[in-house]
């Protein structure tokens, strides 16, 4: 049996807290309300990193290039109201609210491994919904082959967007089959909390078999297209960052090996662990890349 995070608290207390929280939310729509998601068979049973680690060590270049910068600077981001513009080759284009896309009742808990291209890794208990469900709801037209994503552009709230480095807004993209894969989710929370700003509030993508930078944060635009979209890192440094960015221990980054990784929180003498093909999700995703040379399509 797989333990969810709700199992940590005795059930009676847990139910009480839920009742209390429900009441509290009804009374005053406090932004700190708790979330929960139904457990998923896609979750790993590896020990997740602490909330503290996940929210204080990550990349979100809009808030600075250091790992602590997002936690320090993301407080300025307004995440409510928020809408996501879905357009391109879809039947029902339009502006969707976060609750339309990921209603609380539909949230699943997905405990996923995350592998950063910089060769560190974490395990994160996300709360979210499969992207496939969202795309089906808006109706993907037959000619569509790719999905393009964009992060919000708000230099007045995102300090690093005032400077150069990246051609803002940040852009990412997936092939349609990757986007429709059951592992791919739009996440709105982690642990039992709404998504912290520094981790991509209020709604972000999570694609666990690809390097972390593919999982675009604070999404405001989703566009279905028939052409492979340009992505930020690929445009910046095509020799180092490909469109696919699948975790692959056999294909090194030009400046470092991808064969091993350092698990954040493992301690000073934690050493390194071997990186798994497709970040350990090969059984589920390898089929999508059959016949492709992954050293070419990195």
């Amino acid at each position: 049996m797989k333990l969810g995070w709700s199992d940590v608290t005795p059930e009676a207390v847990w139910l009480n807290r839920r009742a209390f929280m429900a009441g509290a939310t009804a009374l005053a729509a406090t932004p700190a309300f708790a979330l929960s998601g139904s457990p998923s068979a896609f979750s790993t049973d590896e020990e997740p990193n602490s909330f503290e680690e996940i929210t204080n060590y990550n990349n979100f270049y809009e808030f600075g290039f250091g790992k602590e910068d997002p936690a320090r600077n993301a407080g300025a981001l307004t995440t409510d109201p928020w809408s996501v513009e879905i357009g391109g080759m879809v039947d029902r284009p339009g502006s969707y609210g976060v609750d339309d896309l990921a209603p609380e009742a539909a949230l699943e808990e997905r405990i996923y491994r995350l592998r950063c291209v910089e060769a560190w890794s974490m395990v994160i208990p996300w709360l979210g919904v499969p992207l496939a469900g969202v795309l089906n709801k808006v109706g993907v037209q037959p000619g569509a082959k790719f999905v393009a994503f964009e992060t919000v552009l708000r230099p007045e709230e995102m300090v690093a967007q005032r400077g150069g480095g990246i051609d803002w807004p940040y852009r990412e993209g997936l092939r349609l089959d990757e986007a429709m894969h059951p592992l791919t989710i739009l996440a709105t929370g982690l642990y039992d909390k709404p998504m912290p700003n520094q981790n991509g509030a209020p709604i972000r993508l999570v694609v666990p078999w690809k390097y972390g930078f593919k999982s675009i944060k604070s999404v405001v635009k989703i566009t279905l297209t028939d052409k492979q979209p340009a992505t930020s890192w690929q445009s910046l440094q095509p020799s180092e960052y490909g469109f696919y960015a699948n975790v692959n221990p056999q294909v090194d980054h030009p400046r470092w090996s991808q064969a091993t990784e350092r698990r954040i929180g493992a301690g000073l003498l934690g050493g390194r662990q071997e990186t798994l093909m497709f970040n350990g999700y090969a059984d589920q995703v390898a089929g999508m890349y059959q016949g492709m040379d992954l050293a070419q399509n990195y």
């Binding site: 680690e53 270049y61 790992k67 470092w256 090996s257 000073l268 934690g270």
Partner: protein
Amino acid sequence: MPLALLVYDTLYGRLGVDPVRDIEHRLGRTALYFLIVTLAVSPIRMAFRINATHLRRALGLLSFSYAFLHLLAWAFFDMGLLWAQMLSDIVKRPYLLFGMTAFILLIPLAMTSNRFSIRKLGRNWRQLHKLIYPAAILVSLHWLWALKLWSGWPLLCTGAIIALLLYRLRRSFAGLSNLFIKNN
């Protein structure tokens, strides 16, 4: 002193989420700062007539010691003593190659930083210790190459190193042209 602070922060868990990276990077940066100060001793004397030459050897040795600890932190904490991967990484990754080469260049400098060697090597000692110039350039490249994007502080440090080297170059050119004029 920077080492004491680092040890203190490590023992008291004040290094944040990834202590490995913090230890490694802080040691490396401290080594670089001492290297810059070491290089600055002569220009400061020439420009401002402040003589700190007697401190130069200590500064250089401090820089070397921090570089050594930085290397140890990388090998033990970061790479977990995976020798094969370390070796292949050094060969394949320009930034590791730059860093390693710089360190190797600094070894003979540290080893000959004693009175006996200075006396024994005579004029050659000065020549040998000019290795700090290529080492400094390699160290800057090592830092810049390790980053994903250009960022301000490492560029500023590189700028300082280049400025200090250019100052020397200008002085020695000035010296040469003086010589030239006199000979005419």
